[in-house]
Symmetry: C2
Subunit: 402 residues, 2 copies
């Protein structure tokens, strides 16, 4: 991010920023003006709230989730199980802080969201990577890992499986509902050897940035989901990243602990931000904005993949994304994309930046980190810059891969 801000001519295909031109400026202005014109609401908005978050926003969020999941369980999707956080990032941190002790193990996807790896490392946790297939987690591999932890007597250190389940950052893979249920079932089966619950942390950050496929139900609705799924959602990416509001749906005992720690962290998320979201959700504005955003990202994804078809050597593999902000590209075996590689340096010298794929792999000594991948984001760059960036990168790849 910093690199992008300091070097304006840089075409960043790296940043996880969202599209600047689609930010809901007018909607936010209207919402804030409405909120602050109502004296009672205005004062509530500018005053402390409760640590768990605004009751109206929690209710609206629970209802939205219930509808998205097409389920009928008011209990599972109760506002009582839901808290508001300062972005979903804060929830990932809180959950990891509350559930894990140094030396514990967290399973992550191979590859996974690299900022989460930072959280994991800062808590002194160990990680194992579970390979991804086109429809999400490789369940056979998950089972092998659980079995090996059981055999080595370290299953008791396993606390959770972290899953970025929708249009994953970085791979754009969506995990099917069947696979989420399957993973949950596997975790439950191994719990008796662990001696404690093993949670499935479902990070649904990109869920609403969907443009090319039907909705996938969350793991909450799978058997055991009420007791074992920690669901992390966010309004930052789908609405405005400058308005940091995320939320979590958690089993009651976990919610209680997380609230206590959140009280220590920040005393509750800013009411002003929460009211903007509550206003957007309860009016037509949020849904309209999402529809626009989905069209916009679909278009930008198309621009990127058209350029990839045109400019990249055919030896580079990638898939058409169905949502999210990313295309994941795999170069032939042996090629290197890391920050010290010729390809990265040449690309950066031509003012284009991507995320080296190896940054997205957990430290896991049981396998080598692939070094031949890259994450390309169509989120923040303009269509023109996407074309230009991919053309430059493509030229460098053509030169280096032959």
């Amino acid at each position: 991010m910093k690199m992008t801000l300091d070097r304006p001519q840089l075409i960043s295909l790296a940043a996880g920023f969202t599209d600047d031109l689609s930010l809901p400026v007018e909607q936010t202005r209207e919402l804030l003006s409405e909120i602050l014109a109502n004296p009672k609401l205005a004062r509530a908005t500018l005053q402390y709230g409760s640590t768990i978050g605004d009751a109206r926003l929690r209710k609206l969020t629970a209802e939205r989730l219930l509808k998205q999941d097409e389920r009928n369980s008011r209990k599972l999707y109760s506002p009582e199980r839901l808290l508001i956080t300062h972005g979903s990032q804060q929830l990932l941190y809180l959950l990891t802080e509350c559930l894990c002790d140094a030396g514990d193990i967290v399973l992550v996807e191979d590859p996974t969201y690299f900022v989460y790896l930072g959280i994991v490392q800062s808590h002194g946790l160990k990680t194992r990577g579970v390979p991804l297939e086109v429809d999400g987690l490789d369940l056979k591999a998950l089972e092998r890992i659980l079995e090996s932890l059981k055999r080595s007597g370290t299953l008791r250190r396993l606390k959770m499986l972290y899953l970025v389940s929708y249009f994953q950052n970085p791979s754009a893979v969506t995990t099917s509902f069947a696979k989420k249920a399957g993973a949950l079932e596997l975790l439950r089966r191994y719990e008796r050897f662990a001696g404690h619950p093993i949670y499935l942390l479902e990070d649904a950050a990109y869920r609403e940035l969907r443009f090319g496929r039907e909705e996938v139900t969350s793991a909450l609705a799978a058997p055991g989901g009420a007791e074992r799924v920690l669901y992390a959602g966010t309004y930052s990416k789908p609405f405005a990243t400058g308005i940091r509001v995320g939320y979590g749906v958690l089993p009651e005992p976990i919610l209680e602990v997380v609230l206590r720690v959140k009280g220590n962290h920040d005393f509750g998320t800013s009411n002003l931000l929460q009211q903007v979201l509550a206003g957007a959700l309860s009016s037509h504005r949020y849904d309209e904005h999402i529809s626009m955003l989905q069209r916009r990202y679909a278009q930008k994804a198309q621009v990127m993949t058209d350029a990839l078809k045109e400019e990249f050597p055919t030896s580079v593999q990638w898939r058409q994304p169905e949502g999210g902000l990313y295309v994941w590209a795999r170069l032939p075996a042996g090629a290197k994309t890391g920050a010290q590689s010729k390809i990265f340096k040449e690309t950066f010298a031509r003012d284009v930046l991507y995320v080296p794929g190896e940054l997205c792999y957990a430290n896991d000594t049981s396998r080598r980190k692939p070094q031949n991948e890259m994450r390309l984001s169509f989120g923040s760059a303009s269509e023109k810059n996407i074309r230009k960036g991919i053309a430059r990168l493509g030229a460098i790849l053509c030169e280096n891969l032959t």
Copy 2:
């Protein structure tokens, strides 16, 4: 807080909420409308920023602090040493998380801010309480504690001294500059026995809520302040508690660590909130609001102390506050104010709530927690309710203390 929200007839002299009627509704509306009418600024406001915080807000904050401290050191008050946080609460948490390991020792005031004690406990830290005098820390007592830690070989576990230096929560005491400098000098002297830096964490949360005395310079300006003072400030209390923006001025090596952890916590504080404050500070609005707020709290403090004179038995000791939100009242030895006490229960039954003083004392086995004190807040209650609440409480005290 929850009690207050759930029982509307309750007169809360307990909550640390600020005054509802003085919230800057109109100013915030104007500011947001201005920000969001400017397309470039609007987009920056609704987009991710950097973890350290908005450059303009940091510059404005550094300048304000320099002016408040009446110092001339651009280096000490450089925006480069300053980060923005989600309320100062987040900074207290981050610093404690970064600097302390379980089993370490933190010195706090006797009494101190009870939410900070929650942070300390959640990190498994030990605490020692340093008694307060009218002008702040009892330096002789501080020296005795340092000496005893040295003798017992536990000085190497001492990481910092936490000081709520302006109109302290809960005691309303302000620590003089001379005492801050004295404390810093003592800590420095014992560092060589500790084998590492011992920091002074200056929590200046109430600094701007000043109405009855001259400005006191921060510990930053004392000898060694640049290297050893961690200064935590906030805009939440002086502007709007629903807009959670705090800041820290930190020595460079600490800043670096805190930024890394803050990146994991939340990826940076909401840009929208930061822009509101930057706009308020750079216009006349912030200063005007503060002036109004100071007059308002002075008036409410006067209403409370007038009622105290009228209604409380003369055996109860308290002082006229010069800032902040609190009056600290000490009942005669032997009287009990705790949550299980007759006085607390009778008061609560009459729909009045105060904070039992003993909650504000750290666990420190070297002394008993006083049980005969209470914190009375004139922050959120109306003048009418302050009078009514103090009258009811006074009647109960008159009955129980004779």
